[in-house]
Symmetry: C2
Subunit: 323 residues, 2 copies
């Protein structure tokens, strides 16, 4: 089960895609459905898989919203509403529900969301938080498919922090000065809502990064029927990630950063002719984006370091908790 | 935790209702939201709470759809789409996913639904199936609130079968000739989709029955600011439930049937002047409805038997599995 990402992808394609008989569902091949001018997405987070049992309950609630906000942003949509299904462990203190609701309230204000409906049940198992989120479509709603040879590949924010944060929480890396920052990036991803208008206007193809830059670029390329080439030196790194990388053999460290999941940044393909406009729009939105590579004819993904492809692992899921 | 229903109600009211800042959410006081002409509802079913671990996986999938279809029908809406979130136990055979998808496909055909999106994750805990369903609103979208003194109270189908089915599965009742029928009613509730146009046209207030007739009538009455009076002799019973009742002290047996959960029938209030039209519309829809009582000024619910109120338990949840 270390390759849960691929298992999941196969299952969805083989069993569930035939059930998505309406074009609005985009054959489940995308991160969201487009129904009229509503963009609709659903993502669940599970204790022990997407967050740790002792993560603060406020951040669990906020993360559940943010992984869905990230999907909307990657489709160029503005958040409107969400529905919430909670399977709440019988053994969790009831007082934690207050913290959970406070976390929701906080991010509702931050992202101009409101709760549309919900269902709360108890469970003997881990906490499961399932969110369905509705957004207002932008000028366009880019799919994963749509990237063409000649396009440039962009990414928002910084790469690898989420995975380093999880590793820090698990005691797998020692980075005392960066612990709080990295753990914060794992527990509270920053959905790039401010970039949604830019994505809607400029992206030929887009998706958010949950399974790792390399694995997700591979998916975008596959959906578009093209190849993606990423320049490892251009991968945007936080100061914390740069410090971590500086202590490692560069090729292995860069491959690890490109493999970590939980980034929730946006990957998108756009025309080189629009590079200046994209950079300016991102500056005005106050969210960083950088060009990290290009789209070519072919298939698959290569992350180049010093002119040669890095050896990539099976994907970011290997770095998730448990499986 | 035997009164989970009330706990849940309190939690939703106190913590989550303030998050539902948009009128579309109906302050979470209803079974669905109304967004434009879309009716949106969400309900999850959890292994060990809403179904048994060894229930056939096809019926688990179909029940997850049907509890949501039932909510739409009670709001007078026609099914359109659903989104599905699965937390799939690592220990379940992968082949069960095929059966799960087959169950979905079956009920999609039956109820003219299609899958709009989904998310599948693994879990170390029980199977959790969360569904968000979208329907097309009818002429009106009745809420739980809206019943007025003088209204008559109607219910569809038959009462108590779901709870008897669960009791049969758990070996708590012995009814060999009715076992298959009752277990079928528990595992595969019959959502009254055919009644949706009637509900939209005639109901002053409506909801589906998941926590038991008495407990849910109490909720409808509370939302409407009125009292509900149910005539126990008028409660529609299947032949199987009638046989079970015949072996019991009538007052206790009727109170139990009014307390069982998992009926997924529709309870609604309507004008006495419309009784003939309602009966005729139900006949044409091929779904049985009967008048079981009336709405009065006051508060609470009474189930009358031989002119006196039955002693009611704390609610249907006591009959759910586990809690």
């Amino acid at each position: 089960m270390t390759e849960r990402g691929r298992d999941e992808f196969d299952v969805i394609a083989r069993l569930f895609a035939p059930l998505a008989t309406d074009p609005a569902a985009r054959a489940l091949a995308d991160d969201a459905a487009l129904l009229g001018d509503l963009v609709i997405t659903t993502d669940a987070i599970v204790e022990g898989v997407h967050f740790l049992a002792n993560d603060p309950i406020e951040t669990v609630a906020r993360k559940a919203l943010r992984v869905n906000l990230s999907d909307l942003a990657a489709k160029g949509a503005a958040p409107l509403y969400y529905l919430l299904t909670l399977a709440w462990p019988a053994g969790r203190r009831a007082g934690q529900l207050d913290g959970f609701a406070a976390g929701l309230a906080h991010d509702q204000r931050t992202f101009a969301l409101s709760l549309l409906g919900g269902d709360t049940t108890s469970t003997d198992g881990p906490l499961v938080v399932a969110v369905t989120m509705l957004g207002k479509a932008g000028l366009a709603t880019p799919a994963r498919a749509g990237a063409a040879p000649g396009d440039e590949l962009w990414v928002s924010g910084s790469i690898g922090d989420g995975g380093l944060g999880l590793a820090a929480l698990r005691g797998e890396i020692f980075a005392p000065e960066d612990f709080d920052y990295l753990v914060g990036r794992y527990r509270l991803p920053e959905p790039r809502v401010a970039l949604a208008p830019l994505i809607a206007a400029e992206a030929h193809a887009a998706m958010d990064l949950s399974d790792g830059l390399a694995a997700d670029a591979r998916k975008l390329a596959a959906a578009s029927g093209v190849a993606a080439e990423i320049d490892a030196e251009r991968m945007p790194l936080s100061d914390a990630a740069a410090r971590w990388l500086a202590q490692r053999e560069p090729a292995k460290g860069l491959a690890a950063l490109a493999g970590f999941g939980d980034d929730y940044e946006i990957l998108f393909a756009a025309s080189p002719a629009r590079a200046g406009a994209i950079a300016e729009a991102a500056r005005q939105a106050g969210a960083p984006v950088v060009r990290i590579g290009k789209i070519k004819a072919g298939h698959g993904v290569e992350v180049l370091h010093a002119g040669a492809p890095l050896a990539l692992g099976p994907g970011g899921y290997a770095h998730r908790i448990g499986r």
